[in-house]
Symmetry: C2
Subunit: 368 residues, 2 copies
C-alpha cells in the first residue's frame, strides 16, 4: 500500500482529557496523519512519536501552499513502501503532541471559557499527558493493541512512557536517542532557553498575541541547535569558514547557519509551545538506577533501544541506563549504539544501520 501522492492532517475531537496536574483539556483535539492501511484484525498499527519541534507530518509529502515548496515528513526516510517502517505492511499513525502548536490542543487553541487563545494560561502538560492523549486517539481508531510505539528524543520518552502507562497496549517499543530523565545539564540548556523567551520584551507573560517574542525564541533555538550537532560534524560542515552570503552580524559560517535555523524556527513554532514542551521534557522522570528499574517493572513490550556515538545531548550512557533497568526486569531488549558524527540529530537523518535495525526488529517474531 503506497502513500498517496499528498498527505494531510486530520483533526479529531476526542472529548476531554484530565491531566496529571488535575486540570482538564476540553475539548481535546488531536492533529494526526496515517500512512498505509489498517489490517482487518487491526494488528499492524505503529504509533510514531515526534520530538520537540516535530509534528504529525512524519511521512509522505505535504502539498506546498503558495510560495512554499512541497514538504516531506520528518521521518520520510524511514516510513513508506519498502522502508524500515513499511507502509505495505504497517498502518502508521503520527499525532502532534498536546501543548504543541501544530494542530493539537495547546497554547494556541481557543479556550472555550473565554473564546480567546489560551496562550500561557494553557495547563502544564507532561509526557504522560501526551501519551494519554495518544491513547484516546488509538481508542478512537478502535485499535486495541499497537504493534509498536516508536520515537526519538522526546518521542523516545513517549514510547517508553507508553510501555509503562499501557503495558498491555503495545507489543514492541523502540526508544531512540532518549533518556528516562533529563540530567542537570539537559535541564540547564532548556532553562536558559526559556529565560531567553521570557526576557524578550514581547513576552508579556506569554500573552503576546500576534507579537511573539521572536528574538528570544530564535536565541533558544540557536543555542539548542548547537546541542543537536556534534563537534565533529560542525568541524566538517563549517570549520572556521567565514559566513556565506550577505548575512551581517556574524563572522563565521556556523553563525550564519545558526541565524538561518533560528529564523526558520520562529516562522513555524510558537514560543509558548516551546516553553510547555521543554518543561514536559525536563519534568519527565522515570528515574534512574533502582527507581527506573522499579518504574519499568510492569512493562510487557519487547524493546529496541538505539543510541548514537556522537550524541552528547542524549548520550549513549543514558540509553544504556534504560537497557540495564529493562534487563534487570528480564524484559526482552536489543541495544544498538550506532557510530556516527551526526550527533543527536542522527535519529532524524537517513542511516542504513538505523534503517536495518528497525526493519529487523519489526520483522522478527515476538520472543516471549
Amino acid at each position: 500500500m503506497s502513500i498517496p501522492e499528498y498527505v494531510s492532517d486530520k483533526i479529531v475531537e476526542l472529548g476531554s482529557l484530565e491531566l496529571q496536574g488535575g486540570e482538564v483539556i476540553s475539548p481535546l483535539e488531536l492533529a494526526y496523519q496515517t500512512y498505509g492501511e489498517l489490517s482487518p484484525s487491526k494488528d499492524n498499527a505503529i504509533l510514531v512519536c515526534h520530538a520537540l519541534s516535530g509534528d504529525a507530518h512524519a511521512a509522505g509529502t505535504l502539498r506546498g501552499e503558495v510560495k512554499e515548496k512541497d514538504k516531506n515528513g520528518w521521518w520520510h526516510d524511514y516510513i513508506g513502501p519498502d522502508k524500515a517502517i513499511d507502509t505495505n505492511k504497517y498502518f502508521v499513525i503520527c499525532s502532534n503532541v498536546i501543548g504543541g502548536c501544530m494542530g493539537s490542543s495547546g497554547p494556541k487553541s481557543i479556550n472555550p471559557k473565554t473564546g480567546a487563545p489560551y496562550q500561557s494560561t494553557f495547563p502544564f502538560v507532561s509526557i504522560s499527558d501526551m501519551v494519554n492523549a495518544q491513547k484516546k486517539l488509538i481508542d478512537h481508531l478502535e485499535i486495541e493493541k499497537l504493534f509498536c510505539v516508536v520515537g526519538g528524543s522526546m518521542g523516545g520518552m513517549q514510547a517508553l512512557q507508553w510501555s509503562v502507562s499501557y503495558p498491555e497496549s503495545l507489543i514492541k517499543c523502540i526508544v531512540i536517542a532518549s533518556t528516562s530523565q533529563h540530567s542537570a545539564q539537559q535541564i540547564a540548556f532548556n532553562e536558559v532557553g526559556r529565560m531567553a523567551i521570557e526576557r524578550d520584551p514581547n513576552w508579556n507573560n506569554g500573552m503576546y498575541g500576534d507579537n511573539p517574542p521572536r528574538n528570544g525564541l530564535a536565541l533558544a533555538r540557536m543555542y539548542s541547535h548547537i546541542t543537536y550537532l556534534s563537534d565533529e560534524i560542525m568541524r566538517q560542515r563549517f570549520g572556521r569558514n567565514p559566513p556565506k552570503g550577505s548575512i551581517s552580524n556574524t563572522d563565521f559560517d556556523v553563525g550564519s547557519f545558526l541565524i538561518h535555523q533560528g529564523k526558520s524556527f520562529v516562522d513555524r513554532f510558537d514560543a509558548n509551545s516551546y516553553i510547555y514542551v521543554t518543561k514536559a521534557l525536563d519534568h519527565f522522570s522515570l528515574g534512574s538506577d533502582k527507581e527506573l528499574t522499579k518504574n519499568l517493572s510492569g512493562v510487557k513490550a519487547e524493546f529496541l533501544v538505539i543510541a548514537f556515538s556522537s550524541d552528547w545531548l542524549y548520550p549513549p550512557s543514558q540509553s544504556r541506563e534504560i537497557v540495564k533497568s529493562l534487563e534487570v526486569n528480564f524484559a526482552p531488549v536489543t541495544f544498538c549504539e550506532i557510530n556516527t558524527s551526526n550527533g543527536h540529530d542522527a535519529f532524524l537523518k537517513y542511516d542504513k544501520h538505523q534503517e536495518n535495525v528497525i526493519r529487523h526488529f519489526l520483522s522478527s517474531r515476538f520472543r516471549r
Copy 2:
C-alpha cells in the same frame, strides 16, 4: 616574600600600540598587579594571563569597598608564598587584557579624539595584540626575559602566542585547558552569545552608554556557564532538585544557579568587552596539524600543557594537538591530563595535581 595584606591595581601608560588590523590604541593603558619581588638579575618574573572574564587581580586580596567583601584573586590557590607559583621565589605579574573592562584600554576607555568612551568604536583586538600590549608592560618593567608565561583557557592562548611572537623572551610556557584555535562548536557558542547581546533592545549598536544590554549579556553568560561545567559535576551539584529560595521563573536548582551567575556577571562585566574578547578568542588561529607545527617551529621555550578529562569546551584532544606539534618541532614538552569532574572550570579550582605539576615544572632545570 609574602603578598601584602591588600593588593591593588596599578595603571600604567605605555605610549601607543599598533594593532594587527593596522589601527592604533593611543594612549595604551594597562592595569596590572604584581606579587613577590623582582630579583636583582630580573630572572624570576612570571607573567600570568587571564581568561575571558578574568582581570589583573590574580592573587592576594582586594580590599572590599562599602558593602562589598574582600576579594581574593582568581588564582589565589596557585599564587602566593609557598604555593605552586611561589611568591617567595618569583615575581608574578598579571595584567588585564586590552579590549577588556577591568582597567586596561578597551571599549570603556575614553577616545581622545572625541572625549567620550569608545564603546563599540574601539578597534578589533586579537590575542596577538593582547600579547603585544603585555610585552610593552614587560619592557616597561625592564624585564628582558620572562622566566615563565602561564595561563588557562584564553590565558593559555596568550601564553602560546607569547612563545610564537617572542620566542627569546620566555624560558617556560604553561598552557592550560586551551587550544591553538577554536573549533566550529566553540565559535558557535560565542556567536550565539554575541547575538544575545546584539538583539537586546538596549544594544544600540554598542553605543548603549549607561543603559547596557543586561539581559543579552546575562543570557550569553548563563549559556556559557553550562559549557564551563561538566555533565557530571552538574549532576552532583544540582541534579534534578527544585530551585532554592524565592527565585521565580525557574523550575530547577540549576536554573536558579544560572540566574545568579548571569546577574553577578552583568554587574561586573561590560557587554562590548564581552563581544571584543570573545571575537579575539574565535579569531585566534595558530592552526592545527601541519599548519600548527609550522607556526610553532620557532618556539624556544620549554612547555607544560595541562588538560582536564571532563573539559568538553576545551577538550583534552585540543591540548594533545598542541603537544603533538611541539613534539614534531622537538620542543621540550610535558603533557598532563588531570582526571576531574570539574569541567573547563577545573583550571580555576584548587587541584593538588595541577598545583604539583606546575610547582615541579617551574622548579626543574631547563633541559635544553
